[in-house]
């Protein structure tokens, strides 16, 4: 049937904005295809122009609906937008239903918008790592702003915060999740706080509660000169988006500097090293003998693991 286009040949088509090529490269990045690794490296070297925005918040807080509206507004200002929408994989089958697109229907026919859905299960080494390869591809394809929508539970969003330029945390009234948000550390990663669904009567309460919590020091992002603003938004009533767009621009100007870029680079480097190391270690590893020893209580987990690592190191010298 169709001919296989090698990854390095896709690059020029990506740079000229060919949707099929962008989409195919993303598929290969997501698969962690070895064939694509060199091309992804080349893409990384060409990337670095786009403003990368991470949007997170508990399930149902209105992220996708907000992204739909935000993208529409940014388009009116002449920016091109790519959206990476991440939904969870089923822990049972590994499959997923990716439904964020339903809320982004207004954007589909706009050639200045590219939307890609992804499941949390992806390449070895965690979501963020492969999502960032995807971001580079979209960057090289020429999109000005890249928005990553993640699921507001677990470790992945904290990783996204290490990797995005600007992280927006969405809280919503009526979800009763303040304590959970604190526990998950989700408030701490915000560069910008949004309270969504402000057309609802109970939104004010949510806004005040959040402001109180932040005042009590429950959400400091560690950057001295930037104080995360709290912005009320209603996607339904179309309110608050000017303030959000202003805050995004202000954060980009004040905080996306060489230090931030180095922090992100540091994160990516250690992620990439972890991924490769883990992969090699797994390929090398035959744990049957050690596992049998462990099961028979003839050894303990740490010393057996240590000796596996010793073997691995010796193999590689």
């Amino acid at each position: 049937m169709a001919a296989y286009v090698p990854s390095h040949e896709l690059i020029e088509h990506i740079e000229s904005g060919q949707t099929w090529a962008i989409a195919r490269m993303i598929t290969r990045a997501e698969a962690g295809a070895t064939e694509a690794r060199e091309a992804i490296g080349e893409i990384y070297r060409k990337a670095g122009r786009a403003h990368i925005i991470g949007i997170t918040g508990v399930p149902g807080s209105g992220k996708s609906t907000l992204v739909n509206k935000l993208a529409e507004k940014l388009r009116q200002n002449g920016r091109t937008i790519a959206i990476v929408a991440i939904d969870p994989s089923s822990p049972y089958s590994g499959g997923s239903i990716l439904g964020d697109r339903i809320r982004m229907a207004d954007l589909v026919l706009d050639p200045g918008v590219f939307i890609r859905s992804m499941a949390t299960r992806g390449a070895v080494g965690g979501m963020a790592h492969c999502a960032l390869d995807v971001v580079d591809i979209l960057d090289v394809a020429g999109f000005d702003t890249i928005i990553i929508e993640t699921v507001g539970v677990g470790q992945d969003e904290v990783e996204i915060a290490h990797a995005a330029h600007t992280t927006v945390v969405v809280s919503a009234p009526g979800l009763g999740d303040e304590i959970q948000a604190i526990k998950a550390g989700i408030l701490e990663i915000a560069d910008i706080h949004v309270v969504s669904k402000c057309d609802r009567g109970d939104a004010n309460r949510c806004l005040t509660d959040l402001k109180m919590m932040l005042k009590d020091g429950l959400g400091s992002s560690g950057i001295d000169h930037w104080h995360p603003p709290v912005i009320g938004i209603s996607s339904y009533a179309d309110e608050g988006f000017e303030a959000l767009i202003e805050a995004l621009a202000a954060h980009k100007d004040s905080s996306v500097n060489s230090q931030r870029r180095e922090d992100i680079a540091r994160f990516r480097l250690s992620k990439a090293a972890e991924t490769l190391l883990l992969e090699e270690f797994r390929n090398f590893l035959d744990i049957t003998a050690s596992a049998q020893k462990l099961a028979a209580r003839k050894g303990d987990p740490y010393s057996l693991a240590l000796s596996l690592i010793e073997d691995f190191k010796n193999e590689n010298t």
Partner: protein, 136 residues
């Protein structure tokens, strides 16, 4: 190690507002380990094709109940050609007369799932179609 799940876009084209069937199929495919992008109701051929290309799905599943199959599929295939896409597997689902099944298969639809097609058979057929297509 390049292991990915089969990616499927399920779209509903036409004016009828029933999506129970398509949601059941979505769950069935997820439970078989596939990544299913669901794009909602009332999609036009143009919107469906744009989504399928951006999502780079292996399989585009179009569900229709309103008897529009003979106009929808020619549009879909024309758009795919225009967009340089030549390895997308297009399947149909829904209710339609036998002669329409023959007609849309001639246009390039790889598989037609009627309402009584058992889930296991759907899964197996889709897996087989992707295997036959080969790596991409």
């Amino acid at each position: 190690m390049a292991s990915t799940a089969i990616r499927v876009l399920l779209a509903k084209v036409g004016l009828d507002g029933h999506d129970r069937g398509i949601k059941v199929v979505a769950r069935t495919l997820r439970d078989a380990g596939m990544d299913v992008v669901y794009s909602g109701l009332h999609r036009t051929p143009e919107e469906v094709v744009i989504a399928a290309v951006q999502e780079d799905v292996d399989i585009l599943g179009v569900s229709l109940l309103s008897g529009v199959q003979l106009t929808v599929f020619p549009k879909i295939f024309a758009l795919l050609k225009e967009k340089n896409v030549n390895d997308l597997i297009v399947v149909a689902g829904g209710v339609m007369p036998d002669e329409d099944v023959v007609a849309i298969k001639k246009m390039g639809v790889a598989l037609v799932m009627l309402q009584d097609t058992p889930p296991k058979e759907i899964i197996a057929s889709l897996q087989q179609l992707v295997a036959e297509r080969g790596p991409r």
